[in-house]
């Protein structure tokens, strides 16, 4: 059973079944790791709020993350995106911590589930669209009409633009989900090789496994970064209409 590389993505109930009017909202292992990630973020960043002029290590970590995301937002979306800093910070940290907690053996990776990433991406998509319409009114539709395009091509271009805009939540969510799932599956497959080849032939896949762990930690950070930076880019489209 444990040799199945997809088994690690199983969601199971922890504790009693909770139902609100026939809807199952039981506490599962996924919920547990969401709670753990959120608590870890809150604890680390709360420890980083000590008011000292010379920061200690945790404070330095918190302040460096703050400046890192602050810089990322101002670089990609400009100063207008300042009010959305808290959201993007929370988003980046949540995805990052979920990814990183998923790297612990026998743990569960929240972001390897399409429904989780899709809900996040859909929320961002809807939010960005609403912000765009509030800021620019119906002028936001100009986003689909790039300037300098010949009139003949315009119908085609507009259709393509609309499709690309609508596919944003899907690409955003599938990118994160697929990366996490693929990485963990691969690690599981190589781990299975180590077990089945035993002491004689298991060393080669073990080496692969070790290398993959390093790669996966990199991917975990990179995907969180990509998720956050794409959010910034979408926000930039909504705030500063360039087309």
């Amino acid at each position: 059973m444990a040799a199945n590389p997809m088994y690690q993505f199983n969601v199971y109930r922890i504790g009693p079944e909770i139902k609100i009017s026939n809807i199952d909202i039981s506490f599962t292992n996924a919920s547990l790791f969401m709670v753990i990630s959120s608590l870890a973020i809150l604890i680390i960043f709360n420890l980083g709020t000590k008011r000292s002029i010379i920061p200690n290590k945790i404070q330095l970590l918190a302040e460096l993350s703050y400046s890192f995301i602050s810089k990322m937002i101002s670089d990609t979306a400009g100063s207008k995106a300042r009010p959305y800093f808290s959201f993007i910070f929370s988003l980046f940290m949540f995805v990052l911590f979920c990814n990183m907690f998923g790297m612990i053996p026998y743990s569960f990776t929240v972001t390897s589930h399409i429904i989780v990433t899709f809900v996040l991406a859909a929320f961002i998509f809807i939010g960005v669209t609403i912000i765009g319409f509030i800021k620019h009114g119906l002028g936001y539709l100009k986003l689909f009409v790039p300037s300098g395009v010949p009139m003949v091509l315009l119908p085609l271009i507009v259709v393509i633009e609309i499709i690309s805009y609508l596919s944003r939540p899907i690409s955003l969510s599938v990118r994160l989900f697929a990366n996490m799932m693929a990485g963990h599956t691969m690690m599981k497959v190589f781990g299975g090789f180590v077990v089945s080849l035993g002491i004689v032939g298991g060393w080669l896949p073990l080496g692969f496994s070790v290398a993959l762990t390093g790669l996966e930690i990199l991917v975990a950070f990179l995907q969180a970064y990509v998720f956050a930076i794409l959010t910034c880019i979408y926000l930039n489209d909504a705030l500063n209409l360039h087309h």
């Binding site: 993505f9 039981s26 599962t28 996924a30 919920s31 809150l42």
Partner: protein, 196 residues
């Protein structure tokens, strides 16, 4: 040989694991909608709480800390600049004082030396004058002594010659004639002695 064994092991293990996997219920648990609602609910709950707590309580504190540090650093730099300027001013003042004192000391030294030199000069001059006076006095005294001694020598000569004459002849002779002879002789002698 070893390569062959490893390859066989790999191939065998792949077949075994493949068999083991295919024996179980396949498919992706991600696409099983059984816990979708639960996951959405918990995601919204945890992420919402995380967002609210971070944005309301934690992030303002961090940004506040960063701001205070920035302003503190600026302030410190400002005060450091001010203090540096002050030090430079103080150093200049110090240099000026040292220069002034040096000049003053030089002047003082020069004037004192001049004074001492003048004093020495004056003293020397007065001393020279005194010495000259003394010399003149001594010269005068010598002259007088010379004169008086001549007279005395003459007198003594007259007396001794009269005594000698008395003892030789046994009678007194006219003193005036004797003195005249003596004086004449002594004058001649003196003239000879004095080189006149």
């Amino acid at each position: 040989m070893l390569k062959k064994i490893i390859f066989q092991f790999l191939a065998l293990s792949f077949i075994f694991t493949y068999n083991a996997q295919s024996a179980e219920s396949g498919g992706m648990p991600q696409l099983n909608p059984e816990f979708w609602i639960s996951q959405i609910f918990w995601l919204v709950l945890t992420f919402g709480l995380l967002f609210i707590i971070l944005s309301k309580f934690i992030l303002p504190k961090i940004s506040n800390n960063l701001e205070t540090r920035k302003s503190q650093i600026l302030e410190n730099i400002e005060t450091a600049d001010k203090q540096r300027e002050e030090t430079e001013k103080k150093v200049k003042e110090f240099d000026k004082i040292i220069n002034d004192t040096k000049v003053e000391a030089k002047n003082f030294f020069n004037s004192e030396r001049q004074k001492v030199l003048d004093d020495i000069n004056n003293k020397r001059l007065s001393l020279e004058k005194d010495i000259e006076k003394e010399i003149i006095k001594a010269d005068e005294e010598i002259d007088q002594l010379k004169k008086t001694s001549q007279e005395k020598v003459i007198k003594i000569a007259i007396e001794t010659s009269s005594d000698l004459v008395k003892q030789l002849i046994g009678e007194d002779i006219n003193k005036s004639s004797l003195s005249a002879i003596v004086e004449d002789l002594s004058k001649k002698e003196m003239e000879k002695h004095n080189g006149i």
